[in-house]
């Protein structure tokens, strides 16, 4: 355990835990967009910024991926913190003005959100939740960031989808905060990222419950025969 100071409160914190985790424990509200407690922190949205004292100087730091250290001093509610978060939210809103998740955080951060536009956009805001879920939870790596950079001539960054790897589990659609990742089901078909998957019916109740590719993947990973997996959760 280490001792840290958040907003002048001295508290004990677990070694290796993040500022965000400790703030949440103390019921201090910190906005997040790219964070999920089951995934590795990413630090992309810059909305969770707090001030940390380093070498006698206060600096903005993203709380989601900054681990606490003995004696660390943190402020979550200063003018600088609010300004930093507000501008990050403002820029996100500038880029994705019709996406509801963005409008919500922007409004909360004090940005004047125009009511003239409707919140019907489903932009990809590059939060990386789908990429991390696919890699860390599903273990499939079907989604990756497309790298921009010198000489790479990519105008707008986006998420790349590898249809050969995707098993159609739908975790990316579940975790996506903006509705950009769409999953549709039509009869015996499920469509994600434009790839069509065949759904398997439960061998007991007959309900369609999972894509065949996903069950085959689980079978390969666990060694459990495919036939034994073709039973839905309710009938197991």
């Amino acid at each position: 355990m280490v001792t840290i100071k958040i907003n002048d409160r001295k508290v004990k914190a677990e070694e290796g835990s993040t500022i965000l985790e400790n703030a949440q424990k103390l019921k201090i509200e910190i906005p997040t967009l790219c964070h999920h407690s089951d995934l590795s922190p990413f630090g992309a949205c810059r909305l969770c910024s707090v001030e940390v004292k380093t070498n006698g100087k206060w600096q903005l730091a993203s709380s989601c991926n900054t681990p606490v250290e003995e004696g660390m001093e943190i402020v979550t509610d200063s003018k600088n913190v609010y300004e930093g978060r507000k501008l990050a939210a403002e820029l996100l809103y500038y880029k994705y003005p019709t996406t509801k998740a963005v409008r919500d955080v922007a409004e909360k951060a004090g940005v004047a959100v125009s009511k003239d536009e409707k919140a019907e956009g489903h932009d990809c805001i590059l939060c990386g939740l789908c990429v991390r879920t696919c890699r860390e939870i599903v273990g499939v790596n079907a989604l990756t960031f497309q790298d921009r950079g010198p000489g790479r001539d990519i105008d707008e960054p986006k998420i790349e989808f590898d249809p050969n790897r995707c098993i159609g589990c739908g975790s990316c659609a579940y975790v996506c905060p903006t509705g950009y990742v769409k999953m549709e089901e039509e009869g015996a078909k499920r469509i994600i990222w434009d790839k069509v998957f065949k759904m398997v019916s439960c061998s007991v109740c007959g309900k369609r419950f999972a894509p065949e590719d996903q069950l085959r993947y689980i079978s390969r990973q666990t060694g459990v025969p495919f036939s034994e997996l073709a039973v839905c959760v309710d009938c197991r």
């Binding site: 992309a44 909305l47 910024s49 600096q59 903005l60 730091a61 930093g84 501008l87 790298d147 960054p157």
Partner: protein, 636 residues
């Protein structure tokens, strides 16, 4: 750029606009290509104007556009911030702006600088802030419609501390980012643009990039070398990708003498330009010093062979056991070669200048000869004790090889101290772990023998004097400190030189007093037109990555020579402290990830590779430590 009208370089403002633009200022800015008259530049570190009439408004637009290309778009503030700045500028120049827009620009710049995730976002926008602040009158005139922004194409360059430190200038943050994003094969493609032996370099590079890494001053440098190896390992694990074929074919052929790193790099690059390429290699194995100078425990043969085979498959012909004794460019020209590249390396060990070294005693060997014999599969019978003289990687490689061959007592004598030792830290640490004894400040003065067999060396202790021309402290013998060291074998490893001359008569190629080939520093052409030289035979023994870089450059130069073009000079950041940035955000301290090495007890059993590579997941984590310190500069 001596006459400064305005400068905010390094955040230090020099403003001579009211007076004459004559005050020369000692600001360390990039050196621009020779012959280019630069009137203004905007770079990560500031704005520099020499011509009072320079158009700072358009320059700002040009800079922001280049900066946007480098911003990765991963965090919310940097790329969108730049987009917003560009939109504001457009709005203003369309006559729809007002003075409040300038305030908004400054507020965006401030927040991007303090809240960006990486070094690029934290440092890139300071010059824009300077322009808005110190050229406010121009921006206000733009708002009023009294000035216009011109659509101009600016010269631009992108670098980073690591990129500039790399002799071959690899886009290090670029390939690391691709690894971070789980694209090792794409990363390898990017590496190969400038380093055609990635698996080799990923194992044995001296990695000056890591010394330049900004992270070094925070916790530990990024494991750049091992990440390059990780890209190569991942590619091999998937079966190994191949190199693309040349897009088009050219009629001309180029002959390359020596299939070492410089020769191979030039061969590959020339082949990609469409030239027919033939490599003449005197040894039975291609790879030069990478093949016969580095033992397998550091660089397994199959890794090198795989990479050479890929180059071969692009259509490069390699003739082995083909020694070119007397080079005649005239004859080669008759045979249809449009140019020749001499890259014969430096394979002859230097003499120590001591009594007994030239007597052919049994037990006296040259370091490079020992390593060559070993790599070519000759049997070397171990004796009890060996003394190796020298402090470079050849000495260390000899020592560690002898330990593996079964010598019981392996000693290195080095005339200076550990600080001055040129061998890489990894090698020195490896040797010490393996029980090798390094004696510093000692030098042999005489080889002792009995019946033509080495029995020992007479040595003198040294002390360090003032630095010599190499910048290292000069070793001075301590009088009366002579002592005798008994040994069965003495290995001299104190440097190498090329085996010359290659040509005689009228076509004689000029050499330096160091015994290396003399070339033009820009074109790499020798005194004989059409004959180029590079690699160790020009520089003296240097690193593999330097040889690859020369090979890359020589290929461009040969292409220009054949096409009858001049080689253009490039911007240089040699005088600039690239580590410095005007704003540094908060960086989470996180030590470098480590790879596993073979247990010390196992190592001496053979020549199996000692160092392991990163597993893919760990490579991604290590890559995530990169601060992406790209620096952009535009000028006119």
């Amino acid at each position: 750029m001596n006459n400064i009208a305005f400068s905010s370089w390094n955040g230090k403002v020099i403003d001579n606009r009211k007076g004459k633009a004559s005050k020369a200022a000692d600001i360390k800015i990039p050196s621009f290509p020779k012959g280019e008259k630069v009137s203004a530049m905007m770079g990560w570190n500031g704005l520099v104007v020499t011509d009072g009439k320079a158009d700072v408004l358009s320059l700002t637009l040009g800079y922001l556009r280049e900066a946007r290309k480098v911003s990765c778009g991963e965090c919310s503030v940097c790329m969108i911030g730049i987009d917003r700045l560009l939109d504001i500028l457009k709005n203003i120049s369309d006559g729809k702006g007002n003075a409040a827009d300038l305030k908004e620009m400054q507020s965006i710049i401030k927040q991007v600088s303090v809240n960006s995730k990486c070094s690029f976002g934290q440092s890139a926008l300071f010059p824009v802030s300077d322009a808005v602040k110190y050229y406010k009158a121009d921006f206000l005139a733009l708002i009023k419609g009294e000035k216009k922004i011109a659509e101009k194409e600016y010269a631009s360059a992108v670098t980073a501390p690591c990129i500039d430190a790399c002799p071959a200038g690899l886009d290090i943050p670029g390939y690391i980012e691709l690894i971070k994003n789980n694209k090792p094969v794409e990363s390898l493609d990017l590496i190969r643009e400038k380093c055609i032996l990635p698996g080799v370099i990923g194992r044995v590079c001296t990695h000056p990039c890591e010394d330049a890494c900004v992270r070094k001053d925070i916790d530990e440098p990024i494991a750049i070398r091992l990440l390059k190896r990780a890209a190569s390992d991942a590619d091999l694990a998937e079966g190994g990708s191949t190199l693309k074929a040349p897009a088009s074919e050219k009629e001309e052929k180029v002959a390359i003498i020596g299939a070492g790193p410089a020769g191979l790099a030039a061969a590959y690059n020339l082949r990609m330009m469409g030239y027919g390429v033939i490599l003449f290699e005197s040894l039975p194995h291609a790879g030069g010093m990478a093949s016969v100078g580095i033992p397998d425990y550091r660089l397994p043969t199959d890794i090198l062979d795989h990479e050479i085979n890929l180059i071969r498959r692009t259509g490069v012909e390699i003739k082995l056991n083909a020694k070119v004794d007397s080079l005649s460019f005239k004859e080669l020209k008759k045979e249809g070669y449009a140019a020749v590249f001499v890259a014969v390396g430096a394979h002859k060990g230097n003499m120590m200048g001591i009594e007994g070294e030239d007597q052919g005693y049994e037990g006296y060997v040259d370091g490079v000869d020992l390593l060559r014999d070993l790599n070519l599969g000759k049997t070397i019978e171990p004796r009890k004790k060996v003394v190796i003289v020298g402090g470079g990687n050849v000495a260390l490689d000899c020592a560690r090889s002898c330990a593996r061959l079964g010598f019981k007592d392996v000693n290195i004598l080095y005339r200076r101290s550990r600080v001055e030792m040129p061998a890489s830290d990894e090698e020195i640490e490896g040797a010490l772990e393996e029980g090798i004894i390094i004696s510093y400040l000692a030098v042999p003065v005489k080889i002792l023998e009995k019946d033509g067999k080495v029995t020992g060396v007479e040595c003198t202790k040294m002390k360090l004097g003032k630095p010599d021309e190499s910048g290292r402290r000069r070793p001075i013998p301590v009088k009366g400190s002579e002592y005798t060291l008994k040994t069965d074998v003495v290995v001299a490893a104190i440097g190498q030189q090329p085996i010359l001359p290659l040509s005689k008569g009228k076509e004689k190629i000029d050499v330096t007093t160091w015994g290396t080939i003399k070339t033009d520093s820009t074109t790499f052409m020798t005194n004989v037109a059409g004959v180029f030289a590079g690699g160790d035979c020009v520089t003296g023994p240097a690193t593999l990555i330097e040889a690859l870089d020369m090979g890359n450059r020589v290929a461009r130069s040969i292409d220009a020579f054949i096409a009858g073009r001049d080689i253009t000079d490039e911007i240089s950041f040699a005088d600039v402290d690239l580590k410095k940035q005007r704003g540094r955000g908060f960086v989470v301290s996180e030590p470098a990830k480590e790879v596993e090495c073979m247990a010390i007890t196992k190592r001496l059993e053979g020549f199996d590779e000692v160092e392991g590579g990163f597993r893919p997941a760990l490579a991604m984590e290590e890559a995530g430590r990169c601060l992406r310190c790209y620096r952009v500069v535009v000028w006119e």
